[in-house]
Each structure stands twice: as C-alpha cells, then as structure tokens.
C-alpha cells in the first residue's frame, strides 16, 4: 500500500507486475477451469472412470461374488462366435435406421398442427401426450394392442378377414413391432422440436418466397427446411441416442424373446450381467464396450459437427 492509488481507474492491465501473485497473473486463464472444476470432477467420477472400469472388467471372468480371473480377450473372442450378439447388433442397426422415421413423421405432424384453428392447443397436446407417459406404459399399451386373442390390432385385421398375427410372438416381426411402439413417443418428441422450430421461421422470407411463386414442396424444401436445420439437428441427435438406448420397451414387451430375437445390445448386456440368470460381469462389460465404441463413432461425428457450427456461427 505504499504506492498511491490512481485517481482515475486504471484501465490498462498491469503489464509486468512481478509482485502480483500467481493467481493475479493467470486469473483470466484459470477462471474458466475453476468454473469447470466441479463438473469435470463429477464427469470424471461418474462417466470417465466407469468407462475405464468397464474396459478393464471386460478382460476378466467374474460372477460378481468370487475372485475375478484375468482372461485377456477371451470375452471378445466369445462375442465373435456368439449368435445372440449378432442378433442384438443387427437389431440395433434396425432400431437406428427405422427410428429415424420419427423425424419426417414429426415434421409432417408439426406442419399439420402449425395453423391457427380453434382448439389447436388441445390437438397439439393430444399429439404430444405419448411423450409424456412412461415408456413402460407405452410398452404395455402396445403389448395389449398386439395381443393375438383380444388385441385391437387383430380385431381390426379381423374386419378385413385377415388372420390373427401374433406380432410379439413371431421372431420375424417382434422387433418391428417394438420399434413401432417406440416411434410413437419419439415422433411426438420430434414434433415438439419442429413446432418450436416453426415458430422461429422468418415470416418475411416466406412472404418473399411466395412473391417469387414458391409453394408446396418447393417452399418446404428450399425455404422452410433450411430454417429448421437447428431443430432437425437436435431431432437427429435425440433420435439416434434414443435408438441406441432402446431397452425398456424390449424388456417390457418381449423380455428379449421370442428366443432372443428382439434383443438389442443394451438389453443383452443387462441380461448377461445383471438379470436373474446372468452375473457374467466380464462378458457384459465386453458388450458394453462394443456398444460404447459404436456410440463413440456417432458422438465424434456429433462433436465435430457442433464444433464447426460454433466456429462458423
């Protein structure tokens, strides 16, 4: 405090204040890390560390009780010859591809609902309703809907003289049946994303396009959709994540059956590691690692894209 305080605020940073503490000199660089620290700590503890543990565990044979025995890559070798694993993998691909139908379906419904009619809010809420209810309930409702003896689907099919189809008992149809059930709430989710997106569409551009004679498909494709890009991007992200996470519907509707034909990787992992007859922790971890690597490809794509967009914006 020997030097007198400046009469006017000193807007120039002290250039070579050797006496200043480490903190003062690096404040700008350190502050963001301080803000990040709690989140980084939690992320490391609950995300990074378990991922590392899973990698490690996948090299062991362990039933969760006794001694874990190191067996190298044997779990992966077994995966390589495991039919159930390929079934799950294939089903995951099916989920990924077919689940994306929720995006155009959501867009279509959103455009349909984006008008000023009396009571439109009620219609919007009705369409949004499936997203609010629990996945378990969705699964149960669709299980009843598909039921071969009293389900609505077969009653309707009966009107057209079509025989009863037991969708969930047929190994060729069951996965499609579950995906259809999953599309119901997912479409509602995409619809909400697009409805908010449509609110942000610039009316002046539409006006301009209209003056230029654009309408219908051309209007949608060249004017509306480009403005909906952020909504499409988010819809894409949540739908793919939703598809890869598909677990609850499989568990509720078929329990992986008939004879394992509707398993997906997440469900198979749960089955071998944690279900009633499971407790093969190492094998489950190996499946988890594969699922993680698949997601990693997608997450990398997502992060790169986001990074580019941020820089461009």
């Amino acid at each position: 405090m020997s030097s007198p305080a400046p009469a006017v605020p000193d807007t120039h940073p002290p250039v070579a204040n050797r006496r200043g503490s480490y903190w003062k000199r690096n404040q700008i660089a350190l502050t963001p890390w301080l803000f990040l620290a709690p989140a980084v700590f939690m992320f490391a503890l609950y995300v990074i560390w378990p991922i590392a543990q899973s990698f490690n565990l996948s090299l062991y044979r362990w039933d969760g009780l006794g001694e874990a025995r190191f067996i190298g890559l044997q779990n992966y070798e077994e995966l390589w010859y495991d039919d159930a694993f390929y079934t799950s993998l294939w089903n995951n691909v099916l989920w990924l591809v077919l689940y994306l139908l929720a995006i155009p379906a959501g867009l279509f419904i959103a455009i349909f609902l984006n008008q000023n009619v009396r009571g439109i809010r009620i219609y919007k809420s009705l369409f949004f309703f499936p997203f609010v209810i629990s996945q378990v309930v969705v699964g149960l409702v669709f299980t009843w809907f598909y039921d071969p003896s009293f389900g609505l689907l077969n009653i309707v099919l009966g009107w057209f003289g079509l025989g009863p189809v037991a969708i969930l008992a047929d190994s060729n149809l069951a996965t499609y049946g579950i995906i259809a059930a999953g599309l119901w709430p997912q479409t509602a989710y995409c619809m909400i994303l697009y409805l908010t997106g449509l609110n942000a569409v610039d009316p002046e551009q539409i006006e301009a396009a209209r003056l230029d004679g654009a309408k219908g498909w051309r209007m949608l494709w060249y004017v509306i959709l480009p403005q909906l890009r952020p909504a499409t991007f988010i819809a894409f992200v949540v739908t793919i994540i939703g598809a890869l996470r598909s677990f609850d519907l499989v568990s509720i509707m078929t329990d992986g059956g008939p004879f394992g034909s509707t398993r997906v990787l997440a469900f198979y992992m749960f089955e071998v590691a944690l279900s009633e007859y499971g407790f093969r922790m190492g094998y489950g971890a190996a499946i988890a690692v594969v699922l993680f690597l698949i997601m990693l490809v997608y997450i990398t794509f997502f992060l790169v894209k986001m990074y580019r967009d941020e820089r461009a914006g």
Binding site: G66, D147, G257, L274, Y277
Partner: protein
C-alpha cells in the same frame, strides 16, 4: 406317585428348563430378509416370525420383506455387505454360487439324525460338498392340472401312459379344444415340459447328470427327449403364440375352456380358483409315464432358509432355522389359508385340500425329486437352455442348431 407321572414331571421340568435356558441365551438383534412378497406368504411369514418372537422375548427381531424378483438380484449385494442373520433362498444349484463364494453358513450341525430323517426328501438338494447349507420350509408338486368337466364331457380319463396321453391330445383337438395351454414369454414354463419329458424318457439320474453338465446336449438320449416333445408339437398340443404370454396370461385359455390342460406347479391352483373354477371343474394328474420301467421322479421346488456367513447373531439364526423345521410350524405355515403348499417335515400334517393331498401322495411315492430346471442347472446353462426350449417349441426344425448352441454353453461353463 406312579413312575409314569414322575417321569412326566421330569420331562416337563426339563422342557421348562430348556425353554427358559433358550429364552435367556437368545438376545440381541435378529435380522431376517424374506422374498415372500405376495400378500398371503408375507402374512404367513410375519405371523411365523411373531410366534418365534413370543418364544424369545429378549430377542429383537427385524424383518425385511423384499419383492421376490428384486430379491434375486439384491441377495448378491446384501450377502457380501450388510448381511442379515437369516435369508430365504432356493435349494439345489441355485445356492451353489453363494456356497462357493463362502457366503452361506455351513449348518450341517443342525442336520442331526432327527432332522436328517424327517427332512430326508430334500436333504440331497440342500447338500453341497457333503455339507448342508440351509433348512427347507416348503415345497410343492408339479403336474398336469386339467379341466375335469371337459374331460368328463368327452369321456376322457386321467392318462397313465404316453399313448393314453396322446389319445387325449387327439380327442381334445378333434373336439376343438386346444389340449395344453402354456405361456413361454418368461421361458421357465418350457423348462417344466423339458424336465418331465426328460425325466420320463431318460430317468432321474440322467436328468441330474445332464443338468450337472456331465452329459453333452448333443447326446442321442437328449435328442430322444426332444423327439417326444416334437410328437406333441406336431399334434398341435400347445396353444398358438405361447411366446407372447406369461404363465398368468395363459391361464384364461383354461378358465374359458379353450384349453384343457396345464403343466404347472401347485401355485397355479389359487389363480384358477379365483378365476371361478370350482374343485369339480379342476383336476390334477401325475405326468404320465413315457418309457416303461423308468421310475417316476417329480419336480418339487423347495424354498429354504439360510444363514449368511457374515451374519451377526448366528446363534439366534440357528435357533430360528430349528424352529422353522419343526413339524408344528411347518403344518401351520403350509396350511391352505397360509402358503397352501406342502410341508417338508415328514411328521407335519398336510392341509385338507384336494390338490395338496394328491400332491403329497404323489411326492411321497416319488422315486426322487428334482428341483426344477432353472434350479438344477447352473444359471448360465439354464438361461440358454430355456431359451432353446422356447425356440424349439416354435421352430422344431432348428433342433440341431439349438443343441449345438447348448453344447457350447455347457463346455464353457463346465470347462469341457
């Protein structure tokens, strides 16, 4: 004073002393974990524990009832950390992982001559490595429950041989009734059919060797079992789309008279009665013989009490297990208004119920008792096999693939 009354007094005095000695010695806390989460079993167990508590007033008993399905995964946690003093579980191979991991207490000292004699029927399934690891409190029969009124209408009688059974299947089909209902969504129901077909085709010893992993699944005797199963499938014995139903969801077919038979455990009787079937409409018969000369063994899953190795109050826990095994207690808890099952103790009496009586008689004369497929076979094999059974029932042509797959699992589990 006559010698008789003298000795009576002596006996009474020693009994009083024994009781008071026990009452004094048992103190502290006794924590009991139960998986009997359904209302009736839950009430039964709580009442039983209350009776035990009255005998030992100084003992502070804490009971924790856990949902039956959740219990199956939680037990692995609570046995390793924060173990109770007593826990319910199942006999047979289902307790093997816990015994091998040193999590169950060896209770061979409880199995003295008296207990070994009275609980002889289940002793083998409580024994691993020559020691006993728990005490059974109830078991129940498996067999074929059927619509007696439909049988009577069509002039059918309970079958004793395979040919008679097949004839019934044909008659029922001709009259538009599906012979057998089953729901294989949760797989284990198909395990019941495999158990019985294999027990009747190849016998108890073979079945046990197979579930213990000593026989390859590709063995031709196993194939013979599946051929018998195939006979049933080709004759349209089972309801369509059974893979879509749980065992409860398959009950209405029988209740509505669309299907006539159901291979099940005795626990199916209660829901069938609740659905409105009277005892005149409902009958029970032993699974018929298939190959002549093979002694009849039955499935009779046994539920048990165990002491975790890390229990705090093992003395009280042992006393509780002794109490559970007494004939008086087993009579009470297995009564029709309680568990509605069969007591294991030879001197306990069976509640006067049509199905319990029939089951008791059948099991008393049984050559041997199996626990049920998923309790006899190691978990990994059980899961893969029961899935294979379900697939076989839908796609019988896939048998070779299924058996090869099972053989691979067996070799991995048993280090073949």
């Amino acid at each position: 004073m006559s010698t008789l009354s003298k000795s009576l007094i002596a006996v009474a005095a020693s009994a009083v002393m024994a009781v008071s000695a026990q009452a004094q010695s048992l103190s502290g806390d006794l924590r009991i974990f139960l998986d009997t989460s359904n209302p009736a079993p839950r009430a039964t167990m709580e009442e039983m524990i209350a009776r035990f508590g009255e005998m030992h007033p100084d003992l502070n008993i804490e009971t924790n009832v856990i949902d039956r399905e959740a219990y199956k995964t939680q037990i692995r946690n609570f046995l390793t950390a924060n173990a109770p003093d007593v826990a319910t579980w199942y006999a047979g191979n289902r307790m093997l992982p816990f015994v091998e991991a040193g999590l169950f207490e060896d209770v061979s000292d409880l199995w003295d001559d008296e207990m070994s004699t009275n609980l002889a029927s289940t002793k083998p399934s409580m024994t691993i490595d020559g020691a006993q690891w728990g005490v059974p409190y109830t078991y129940y029969q498996w067999g074929v429950y059927y619509r007696e009124d439909i049988f009577n209408e069509l002039g059918l009688e309970e079958p004793e041989t395979w040919d008679e059974f097949l004839a019934i299947v044909d008659t029922l089909n001709e009259n538009g009734v599906t012979p057998v209902t089953i729901g294989t969504k949760f797989l284990w129901t198909a395990g019941g059919w495999f158990d019985y077909l294999n027990l009747r085709t190849n016998g108890y010893e073979f079945h046990m060797d197979l579930t213990n992993g000593e026989i390859p699944w590709t063995d031709e005797r196993v194939v013979a079992t599946f051929e018998n199963w195939r006979t049933l499938i080709d004759r349209d014995t089972f309801i369509d789309n059974h893979a879509a139903y749980s065992w409860q969801e398959a009950l209405p077919f029988m209740v509505n008279g669309e299907a006539a038979m159901y291979l099940m455990g005795n626990f199916a009787v209660a829901p069938l009665r609740e659905a409105g079937l009277s005892d005149d409409q409902l009958g029970f018969f032993q699974f018929p013989a298939i190959v002549d000369g093979i002694p009849m063994a039955e499935d009779a899953p046994t539920d048990t009490f165990h002491i975790p190795a890390q229990a705090q109050n093992k003395e009280a826990a042992r006393e509780f297990l002794r109490f559970v095994a007494t004939p008086e207690n087993q009579t009470i808890i297995n009564g029709g208004d309680a568990l509605g099952q069969l007591p294991v103790h030879a001197e306990a009496s069976v509640d006067d119920d049509k199905f319990l009586n029939e089951g008791f008689e059948m099991l008393s004369n049984a050559y041997a008792l199996a626990q049920f497929f998923d309790r006899d076979a190691p978990a990994e094999v059980a899961a893969a096999a029961m899935e294979g059974f379900q697939q076989f029932m839908v796609q019988p042509d896939q048998l070779d693939n299924i058996l090869e797959r099972l053989e691979r699992v067996r070799q991995r589990v048993h280090g073949g």
